[in-house]
Structure formats: structure tokens, C-alpha cells
């Protein structure tokens, strides 16, 4: 199988991967970290090519060439606003690769396998297959090919539990009886179906959690592949990837005030109550503010905190936001950005978009770092964010998001909200912030509004 020299190369690669990830602790060392990880990958792959089972290279060369071409094309042409979609797709590829290697291992042994291997292959195929279809569903939802609204039905949780249990039982039975091929392929099919069933009921606003969870599953699938193939570097990297996904899921669940059990069992994304009659009545009578009104407010401001949300990504407004912020700074106004962990569709989504728009990263503040500053700020400019600034999370125990940490935008002297319409976000919760007396709503596409604001401000001089 593997020789000692391959094992040593794998050990070196594993350590380099860990050092590389460590570099991501700071933006200054991050690129160097990634280079270490690239070196590790090169070492691991070169060592593998010396594996004595490898006898022909034609399939490998075709696969590597096609894969590289697609990989390079994706890296060059995918815009930063489509990053959640790309991440979802790469989870799908990772899951599929694991599942296929598992099926191949099973089929080439014609179902005659020791218990340990069978268990590894069983979990590999299950996790790989459900990550594949689950990630494709997430991709479809992000792309708008499938409704971002939660698609739910009455028996969904019960049905999912039954499917899960059945898959586990089938794998459990296969471990001592691996010859039952029809059962094995049943597990494969059921796992593909499970991925669809898990992600369908999940709404767009819950995407950061789903993407993190799928990241974790993709890692576990890779680790299971390592068990099945007795490959150390695969086990280590799978564990790293799984741990990373797990960590991000925890961060996201904390930022949404959901228990981890709640996330594991996919009970999120259910329909929520749509506000009470009082706020609905106010909503009807609310008139939008004008660009002129906003200019007056900005004219008197000393400090502005910008709160970006998914609406900024959807409107591709990040460049306009940066341009407007620079205009404000030229007038001596301090501008900071307040980033909520679940703003957007994946962990860190807003940071990447603003970095792309050339906003220095030391202007971006996490919720804990900036939340006390809202009370002393003149303007909170909310660009396409909704639930993450909803004061109901702090003071309305009946609200479905009660207890979720939110940005204190409501404490700012004036709140200016750029929003397409007053329709509640995906979470279907009315936001009383929008109807408060110190809030100005400017309706319309966030990017167009900002462009108008920039124009008006320049004219004013």
C-alpha cells in the first residue's frame, strides 16, 4: 500500500495544513498561510502519485486537466457577490467526490469487506451523497432557481427523522453483512434524497448556517474516505474541514440565538408569525423620506455607522456604499461599518464584499466591538439589512427572533434605512425600527439611492 516515504510526506503535509490555517488569524499573515497550504497540497499529491497501486495515468490526466480548467474559470469569472453560490457548489463537488470513491471501493470489492471498512464506506457514501444534493439545493436557492422561501409540509420533521433512521439502520446492517448490494445502493439513493429533504425547508436568511453545516458534512465525508482508504492525510484534512464547518455553525447559531440541536435537526426555517395589526396599520401610512431629507441629516452629522445587509449584496451596492462613505469622510465625518455575523448568505459575506469595494478592513467592526457606539452616533445608515437591526430581538419576548444578538442601530440619533419596500425580510417578521419617529425610510434599489445621494452631495459641494 503506502510506503514509509509517502507516510512521511503525508505527515509533513498535515502539519503544513494546520500551520497554514493558523495564518488566517490575521489578514496580514493570511496569504502566507494559504501559500503554506498550497505547498502542503502539492506535497500530498506528489507523494500520492508514487502510490504503488497507481498503474495508469490516462484517467488521472484527463480528470486533472478538466478539473483545473473548470477550477481556474470559476476562480476568475465568479464575481464576489456570487461567493455563497460558489462555496455551495464546491461543497457539492467535495461531497460527490467522496461518495463516488466510496461507491467505487464498495463495488471493486464486490461487497466483501471487513466491518471497519464497511462502516467507513457506509458513512462516507451517506455524508458525501447528502452533502452533494444538499449543496446543490442550497445553490439553487441562492441562485433563485428554487424558492428561497422555506418549503415545508406537515410531516417534514417526522419524515426526515424516519429517513435518517432508516439510512443508519441500513448502514448498521451492512457492517456485518456487506454482501447485500441492493441495500448498499439503497443507502446511496436514500442519502441523495436526504440532502434534498434537509435543505428544502430552509429559508434564505438561514443560509449562513446551512452553508456552514454542509461545510462540516463535506469534511466528515472526506475523513470517512480517509478511514475507508487508510489514508492519514485525508483523515486529518477531513477533520480540519469538519472542525471548521462545526466552528462556523456554532458562531452562526449563536448569532441567531438558536440551539445547536435546533440546527442539527433542521427545525429552523419554519414559517413565523407576520407581525401584529398595529404595526401593519403603521406600515400602510408610512411615507418614504427623500434624498433631500437625508442630505440635511448627513449635513449635521459628525459620526455615521453603516450597517450592511443582504440587500447590499443583492443590489451590488458595495462600491456605491464605499464611494458615499468616502464623501462623508471628506467632510470630516467619521464612518464605521457594523458587521453582524449572519448578515448576508454566508459567514463573513459582508466583509468580503466591502473588501472588494476597497473598504479598509480596519473600518469593519464586529457586533461586539461596535454595539456600544451606536448610542453616541449621529446616523445609522442601514443598507438592505433587516432582522439584524430589529429591536424586537431585545424587547419583544413574543418575537420569533427574541434573544438574538442584534446591532443597536435603533440607539443612533437618526436611522436612515435604504430598502426596496416595507415587505418583511425572509424571516417574515415586521421590524418596528422602520416605523420609529427617528427613522427615515428611503425606498428603492439601494445602489440607485446611493448613487443619487452621491450626486446630490457632490452638487451641494
Amino acid at each position: 500500500m503506502t510506503t514509509p516515504s509517502i507516510e512521511i510526506a503525508y505527515l509533513a503535509a498535515s502539519l503544513l495544513f494546520i500551520f497554514g490555517l493558523r495564518g488566517l488569524r490575521s489578514p496580514e499573515t493570511a496569504r502566507r498561510g494559504i501559500q503554506l497550504a498550497e505547498l502542503a497540497m502539492l506535497i500530498a499529491i506528489s507523494a500520492t502519485l508514487l502510490h504503488n497501486h497507481l498503474v495508469r495515468y490516462d484517467w488521472i490526466i484527463i480528470g486533472v486537466c478538466v478539473g483545473s480548467a473548470i477550477g481556474v474559470a470559476m476562480a476568475i469569472f465568479i464575481p464576489m457577490t456570487k461567493m455563497p453560490e460558489r462555496i455551495a457548489l464546491s461543497h457539492a463537488f467535495g461531497g460527490l467526490a467522496a461518495a463516488l470513491v466510496g461507491v467505487s471501493e464498495y463495488s471493486r470489492h464486490s461487497g466483501i469487506l471487513p466491518a471497519g471498512k464497511m462502516a467507513a464506506i457506509g458513512f462516507e457514501v451517506m455524508l458525501g451523497a447528502l452533502t452533494f444534493t444538499g449543496s446543490l439545493m442550497a445553490f439553487g436557492k441562492l441562485q433563485g432557481m428554487i424558492s428561497e422561501r422555506p418549503i415545508t409540509h406537515r410531516f417534514q420533521n417526522g419524515l426526515n427523522v424516519i429517513f435518517f433512521a432508516a439510512t443508519f439502520v441500513a448502514i448498521g446492517y451492512l457492517i456485518p453483512h456487506p454482501v447485500h448490494q441492493e441495500l448498499f445502493y439503497g443507502v446511496v439513493g436514500m442519502s441523495f434524497l436526504l440532502g434534498v429533504l434537509i435543505v428544502l425547508p430552509i429559508g434564505g436568511a438561514d443560509m449562513p448556517v446551512v452553508i456552514s453545516l454542509l461545510n462540516s458534512y463535506a469534511g466528515l465525508a472526506a475523513a470517512a474516505t480517509g478511514f475507508a482508504l487508510s489514508n492519514t492525510v485525508l483523515v486529518v484534512c477531513g477533520a480540519l474541514d469538519g472542525a471548521s464547518g462545526f466552528f462556523l455553525s456554532l458562531v452562526m447559531s449563536k448569532a441567531m440565538n438558536r440551539s445547536f440541536a435546533n440546527i442539527l435537526f433542521g427545525a429552523f426555517g419554519q414559517e413565523r408569525e407576520n407581525g401584529n395589526d398595529a404595526t401593519r396599520a403603521v406600515r400602510k401610512s408610512l411615507l418614504g423620506a427623500t434624498i433631500g431629507d437625508a442630505l440635511v441629516v448627513f449635513g449635521n452629522a459628525r459620526s455615521v455607522i453603516i450597517v450592511p445587509g443582504y440587500g447590499m449584496a443583492a443590489a451590488h451596492a458595495q462600491h456605491a456604499v464605499r464611494e458615499f462613505a468616502e464623501l462623508l469622510e471628506q467632510q470630516g465625518i467619521t464612518v464605521k461599518y457594523a458587521i453582524h455575523p449572519v448578515a448576508g448568505r454566508m459567514p463573513g459575506h459582508m466583509n468580503v464584499l466591502l473588501a472588494e469595494a476597497n473598504v479598509p478592513y480596519d473600518h469593519l467592526y464586529d457586533i461586539d466591538a461596535i454595539n456600544d457606539e451606536f448610542a453616541n452616533s449621529d446616523v445609522a445608515l442601514v443598507v438592505g439589512a433587516n432582522d439584524v437591526v430589529n429591536p424586537a430581538a431585545k424587547n419583544d419576548s413574543a418575537s420569533p427572533i427574541y434573544g438574538m444578538p442584534v446591532l443597536n442601530a435603533d440607539q443612533s440619533r437618526t436611522v436612515i434605512v435604504l430598502k426596496r419596500s416595507l415587505n418583511p425580510g425572509f424571516a417574515k417578521i415586521d421590524n418596528e425600527l422602520f416605523t420609529r419617529p427617528n427613522t427615515m425610510m428611503i425606498f428603492g434599489d439601494a445602489k440607485e439611492t446611493l448613487v443619487e445621494l452621491i450626486k446630490a452631495m457632490k452638487e451641494k459641494g
Binding site: 488566517l24 493570511a30 480528470g63 464546491s90 471501493e105 463573513g348
Partner: protein, 97 residues
């Protein structure tokens, strides 16, 4: 001690170290982190390579071919895009060329 337990040891310790290292990553870099671990999980390429190149039988080779393609997309695309992303992160003052 059975060999299976040793594998679980490797997995558990790697997951623990991974968690410790990764929990130090600031929210600012969570997207690059995810993108980087995606690229790293493309390490399943080493498994796919053996499947594709071992000439066990045609089915195995074809499954291996697709697996190699998928894993390569993740490795190549993942590293390139992570680097592209990290290049964008700059501090006040240093202008991008």
C-alpha cells in the same frame, strides 16, 4: 489496541487541533476560511487519484475520473479564489495597485 481505534485517535486529535486553530480566525476572515478549507478538503483528490489510476475495473476508473475532476476543481479553484479574496483585504492607507 485495534487499528480502527488508532484511526479514530488521528481523527479526534486533528479535529481538536483544527478547532483550536480555527476558533482564532476573526469574523472578518470567515469567508476566506471557508474557501480555504474547501480547497484543503480537495485533498480527497489523493483518494480519487488512486481510484482513477489503479485500473481495478472500468466502473472504478470512471467513478475515479469524475471524482478526480470534482476534487481538482476544489483544489485549483479553491486556492485561487481564496488568494483573490485575501488580496482584497487591505488596511487604511495602503492602496491597492
Amino acid at each position: 489496541m485495534s487499528e480502527g481505534i488508532l484511526w479514530l485517535y488521528i481523527f479526534a486529535l486533528a479535529a481538536f487541533v483544527g478547532y483550536l486553530v480555527i476558533s482564532g480566525v476573526p469574523p472578518l476572515l470567515h469567508t476566506p476560511l471557508m474557501s480555504a478549507t474547501n480547497a484543503i478538503s480537495g485533498i480527497s483528490l489523493v483518494g480519487s487519484l488512486v481510484t482513477a489510476g489503479a485500473d481495478y475495473n472500468l466502473t472504478s476508473s470512471l467513478l475515479g475520473l469524475v471524482a478526480v475532476t470534482c476534487a481538482t476543481i476544489n483544489v485549483v479553484g479553491g486556492f485561487l479564489i481564496t488568494d483573490r479574496m485575501l488580496k482584497m483585504f487591505r488596511k487604511r492607507g495602503d492602496r491597492r495597485s
